[in-house]
C-alpha cells in the first residue's frame, strides 16, 4: 500500500486538522469526539442540519459544512459510521433552539448510531428529527436486505435542506422537504478499480484489469453485476437506465443531473461521461435544468463514477440555487 499518510490509525484526525487550517473561516474542528462544526455555530433560531458517516467520502460531509448547508458533520473512521457521542456533541454545539435534523445514509451502522444519539438527545428535551436517504437503485429494496444505500443523492439533499434551514424553515418543514427530496432522487455507481482502506492495507475487492463492477456502493460493496469493462457510452447507459426506470423519470421532467467521481476518475473522463448522460436524457425528453459534476461523494481512491438524478420543481430549484459557502460547494453571496 502506498498512500500519503503517516499512520493508518490517525488518518482521519490528521486530515481533519488540515481541513480546519484550510477553511478556518468556515469550520471549527472539535477533535474528541470528532465533529466538524460551522464556525459561527450555533445559529440562533435556525434548525441545525447535521450529517455524518464514515470518512473516506470527502468532501462529504466535512467539506459540506458552512452557511447554506450543514451545521455539523460527524466523521467516523474510514468507512465506519460515527458513534452516538459524536452525534450528541454535534447536536449540543449547533442547536440554536430550533432543533436538529439528522441526515443519515441508509446503512445499518449509521442508522443504529444516529438512532441511539437521537434517543439520548430527546431524553434531554432537544427536538430531533431524522431523515434516512436511500437513493441507490443498485440494491433491491426488499425484506431480504438492509434496504437501499444512501449515496450521491445525499449531497443534493444536504444542499437543499441546508438552504431551507438557512431561510428559516422550522424542523417539521425541513423534515418534510427532506423526505420530498429522498422520494425524488435516484443514483447508481460503478467501479473500474478498488480503493484501499488505510487500516486494511489491501484493495477492498479484486477486479481484473478488464472487468468493471456495476452497482457498486461507496464503500466498495459489490453491486449488481461484474461485467467486462465497456466504453463510456456503455457505462453511462448501464447507470442511467436503471436510475430513470426506477422513479420513474418521464419525458418532460425537469431534473438535476449529478455526475460524480468516486475518487480516482479524472475530470477529463467525468465531463466526457456527463456529456453522454446529458445527451441520453435529452433523447428522452428529460430536461436537465441544473447540474453538478465532480468528486463529491468519493470512495477513497476508487476509480469509477456514479450518476444521480433528482426530479426538480420550482421550490427545489430555488433552494439549489440559494447561496452556499462550504469547502466544496460555493455560490451566491
Amino acid at each position: 500500500m502506498k498512500k500519503i499518510i503517516n499512520d493508518p490509525a490517525t488518518v482521519v484526525a490528521d486530515s481533519l486538522r488540515g481541513l480546519e487550517l484550510a477553511h478556518a473561516d468556515l469550520v471549527t474542528v472539535v477533535p474528541d469526539p470528532a465533529v466538524v462544526v460551522r464556525a459561527d455555530a450555533p445559529v440562533q433560531g435556525k434548525v441545525a442540519v447535521i450529517s455524518g458517516g464514515g470518512s473516506g467520502h470527502e468532501p462529504m460531509h466535512g467539506g459540506l459544512v458552512g452557511p447554506g448547508m450543514l451545521d455539523a458533520a460527524c466523521p467516523g473512521p474510514v468507512f465506519t459510521s460515527p458513534t452516538p457521542d459524536q452525534v450528541q456533541a454535534a447536536i449540543e454545539r449547533t442547536n440554536g433552539g430550533a432543533g436538529a435534523l439528522l441526515i443519515v445514509k441508509n446503512y445499518t451502522g449509521d442508522v443504529l448510531n444516529f438512532e441511539t444519539a437521537a434517543e439520548l438527545a430527546q431524553a434531554e428535551d432537544v427536538e430531533v428529527a431524522t431523515v434516512v436517504i436511500d437513493d441507490d437503485v443498485a440494491v433491491q429494496d426488499s425484506l431480504y436486505t438492509a434496504g437501499r444505500r444512501g449515496v450521491g443523492g445525499t449531497v443534493l439533499l444536504e444542499k437543499i435542506v441546508g438552504a431551507a434551514a438557512e431561510r428559516g424553515d422550522d424542523l417539521a418543514a425541513c423534515l418534510a422537504l427532506a423526505q420530498r427530496v429522498v422520494a425524488n432522487v435516484r443514483s447508481m455507481g460503478m467501479a473500474l478499480a478498488a480503493p484501499t482502506v488505510p487500516h486494511v492495507g489491501e484493495p477492498s475487492f479484486d477486479l481484473d484489469a478488464d472487468e468493471m463492477e456495476v452497482g457498486i456502493g461507496i464503500h466498495g460493496e459489490p453491486g449488481r453485476a461484474r461485467l467486462p469493462a465497456e466504453n463510456a457510452d456503455g457505462i453511462v447507459a448501464r447507470l442511467l437506465e436503471p436510475v430513470l426506470a426506477d422513479l420513474p423519470f418521464r419525458e418532460g421532467d425537469r431534473v438535476l443531473l449529478f455526475t460524480n467521481s468516486m475518487g480516482a476518475t479524472p475530470l477529463l473522463e467525468l465531463y466526457l461521461a456527463h456529456g453522454i448522460a446529458e445527451r441520453m436524457l435529452a433523447d428522452r425528453g428529460i430536461v436537465v435544468e441544473r447540474r453538478l459534476v465532480g468528486p463529491y461523494v468519493t470512495s477513497l481512491e476508487m476509480q469509477g463514477m456514479s450518476l444521480t438524478v433528482l426530479k426538480l420543481d420550482d421550490e427545489l430549484t430555488g433552494l439549489w440555487d440559494a447561496p452556499v459557502r462550504t469547502a466544496a460547494l460555493r455560490w451566491g453571496s
Partner: protein
C-alpha cells in the same frame, strides 16, 4: 462458584485479547462480505474497554458490564458498536446490583444481551448475523448448572452457530447487499460473538 466484578472484568480482558489476536481474521471475513472494518472496529473498542478497566474495576458485575457497554457504544461505530453496546447494556441492567453472578444470573444476562441485539437490529436466526451465534449460545447455556459449564456450552454453541452462517445468504447488514454472493463466507459478527463467548469460557471466570 460464582463470578464477581473482578472476574467479569477478567473475562472482558480475555475477550479483548482474543479480539486483538483475531483482528486480522475478522477484517478478512468482513472484507469478503462487508467493508473490511469489523476487526478494526472491535479491536478499537475493546482496547478502550481495557484502558477504562485499568483505571479501576467498578464495584459490581453490573457496573463492569455497563462500563463495557458505554465504551463500546462510544468507540466502535459501525453496526457492531450499537449492537454489542446494547447487548452489554441490557446484560448490565438485568443483573442489577448482585455482588456475584451465579448460573441463573449469567443465563439471564445472556438472554438480555440477545434481546438487546434483536431489539436494535431486528435480525432473526438465519439472517446471517451475530444473532446466529448468540441465539444458540443462549439456548445451550440454559441447560447447564454451573457458570463454567454453561459458558463452555454457550461457547461451543456459538462456535457452531457462527460456522452455520457460511452457506447462508445475508438478509441484514451490509452483507445483504451482496444477495446470493454472500453465501460461502462466515459472517464476521457471528465469528466475533463466538470468539468473545469462547474467551469467556476459556478465561479466568470460574
Amino acid at each position: 462458584m460464582a463470578c464477581t466484578a473482578e472476574s467479569v472484568a477478567d473475562a472482558v480482558r480475555a475477550a479483548a485479547a482474543v479480539v486483538a489476536s483475531h483482528r486480522d481474521e475478522l477484517v478478512a471475513l468482513d472484507r469478503a462480505i462487508g467493508d473490511g472494518d469489523h476487526g478494526e472496529n472491535l479491536n478499537r473498542g475493546f482496547t478502550a474497554v481495557v484502558a477504562a478497566l485499568d483505571e479501576g474495576t467498578p464495584d459490581t458485575p453490573a457496573a463492569v458490564l455497563k462500563l463495557v457497554a458505554s465504551t463500546l457504544i462510544s468507540k466502535v461505530g459501525g453496526a457492531a458498536g450499537p449492537l454489542y453496546g446494547t447487548a452489554f447494556l441490557r446484560a448490565s441492567a438485568v443483573v442489577k446490583d448482585a455482588a456475584e453472578l451465579g448460573p441463573a444470573e449469567v443465563v439471564a444476562a445472556l438472554e438480555a444481551a440477545l434481546g438487546g441485539v434483536v431489539a436494535r437490529g431486528k435480525a432473526e436466526v438465519g439472517d446471517k448475523t451475530m444473532v446466529d451465534a448468540l441465539s444458540p449460545a443462549v439456548e445451550a447455556a440454559r441447560s447447564a448448572d454451573s457458570v463454567s459449564e454453561l459458558l463452555t456450552a454457550a461457547a461451543e454453541a456459538a462456535r457452531a452457530g457462527a460456522e452455520s452462517t457460511e452457506p447462508l445468504v445475508a438478509r441484514k447488514g451490509r452483507a445483504s447487499y451482496l444477495g446470493e454472493r454472500s453465501a460461502g463466507h462466515v459472517d464476521p459478527g457471528a465469528r466475533s460473538t463466538a470468539l468473545i463467548l469462547g474467551s469467556f469460557a476459556a478465561g479466568p471466570v470460574r
